[in-house]
């Protein structure tokens, strides 16, 4: 259990919402790509938003 908690904190850190949003953005990128739509722009759009919200929550 401690092992799992260590790796969780190592990779995800203390902002689970940010992590969930990043995973959702990657999933949406995969969804768009599967539909044949250009999807490269989605992560560069999502990451700054996630970062901004995460920073606001931390301050």
């Amino acid at each position: 259990m401690r092992f799992l908690r260590f790796w969780w904190e190592f990779v995800v850190g203390d902002d689970m919402l940010a992590a969930a949003c990043v995973i959702a953005a990657i999933a949406a990128t995969a969804g768009l790509a599967a539909l044949g739509v250009a999807a490269w722009w989605l992560l560069p759009l999502a990451v700054p938003l996630v970062l901004y919200v995460s920073l606001r929550r931390a301050t």
């Binding site: 190592f10 995800v12 902002d15 940010a18 999807a39 989605l42 996630v50 970062l51 301050t59």
Partner: protein, 244 residues
């Protein structure tokens, strides 16, 4: 270009982590004896080498797209943690990392800890050194494995990391003091930028997206992440906190 980013990222990340590990090894060595501290250091290095040796070849047999998706997602999550802390530090919302202060704290704690000797080795000194090097080194191992496997060159990433380890160890042996003058906060910011950039690039590729210009888009993504981070620092800027 990717190879340069690869070596540079592994070098910077390793240098930052090794500066932190050096502080702990020095504190353990000066207070609890060098034998215990260096034994802990050696044990941690062996464990880290075993992790890289065991996982490295395993990662090379995973299909590249799947690897880039998983590794990209992990790097993005990991990189955002680094970047978030770096932006908070640069904007004055979080105390700057100060090796001198950390060294003083480690020294004070190590001096009052109970002395338990096993096989001629002080257990506290060994454990302090072992845990410090292992935990700091795990981040380096993670970066070397993920960057190296995704770029198809774990040895190149390992070379970047090894260069940093040798440099920090060499300087550490020469000065026998924490490397407080290393611009650690700036380096941490750079590593956060690199990790986030590679995370965005590889996770999008792994998810099936195609970057305009293929690999040539990577510097563009890096420039974009740099600009966004600089704007966030400006937006959050507040009077500087004390270092800690």
């Amino acid at each position: 270009m990717s190879a340069v980013f690869l070596v540079l990222s592994a070098f910077l990340a390793s240098a930052v982590e090794m500066v932190e590990a050096l502080t702990i090894v020095l504190a353990a060595g000066l207070t609890r004896g060098w034998r215990s501290s260096l034994t802990g250091l050696a044990a941690a290095v062996i464990v880290l080498a075993a992790i890289v040796a065991a996982l490295g070849p395993a990662l090379t047999v995973v299909p590249l797209d799947a690897l880039r998706l998983v590794v990209g997602a992990l790097l993005l999550l990991f990189g955002l943690q680094w970047l978030r802390k770096a932006i908070l530090r640069a904007s004055g919302r979080k105390a700057l990392h100060d090796e001198d202060a950390i060294f003083a704290r480690e020294l004070a704690e190590a001096r009052v800890a109970e002395h338990i000797e096993r096989a001629g080795i002080d257990w506290y000194g060994f454990t302090l050194s072992f845990k410090g090097v292992l935990l700091e080194g795990l981040e380096v191992a993670f970066i070397v494995l993920t960057f190296g496997s995704t770029q198809g060159s774990i040895p190149l990433a390992a070379a970047g990391a090894a260069g940093a380890v040798l440099l920090v160890a060499g300087v550490g042996v020469a000065v026998r003091a924490p490397l407080a003058r290393v611009p650690e906060n700036t380096m941490k910011f750079a590593v956060g930028l690199m990790l986030t950039t590679f995370g965005i690039f590889w996770s999008a590729e792994g998810a099936g997206a195609h970057w305009p210009g293929s690999d040539a888009a990577l510097p563009g993504v890096l420039a974009f992440v740099c600009v966004v981070s600089a704007l966030l620092v400006l937006a959050l800027r507040t009077p500087r906190m004390e270092t800690a």
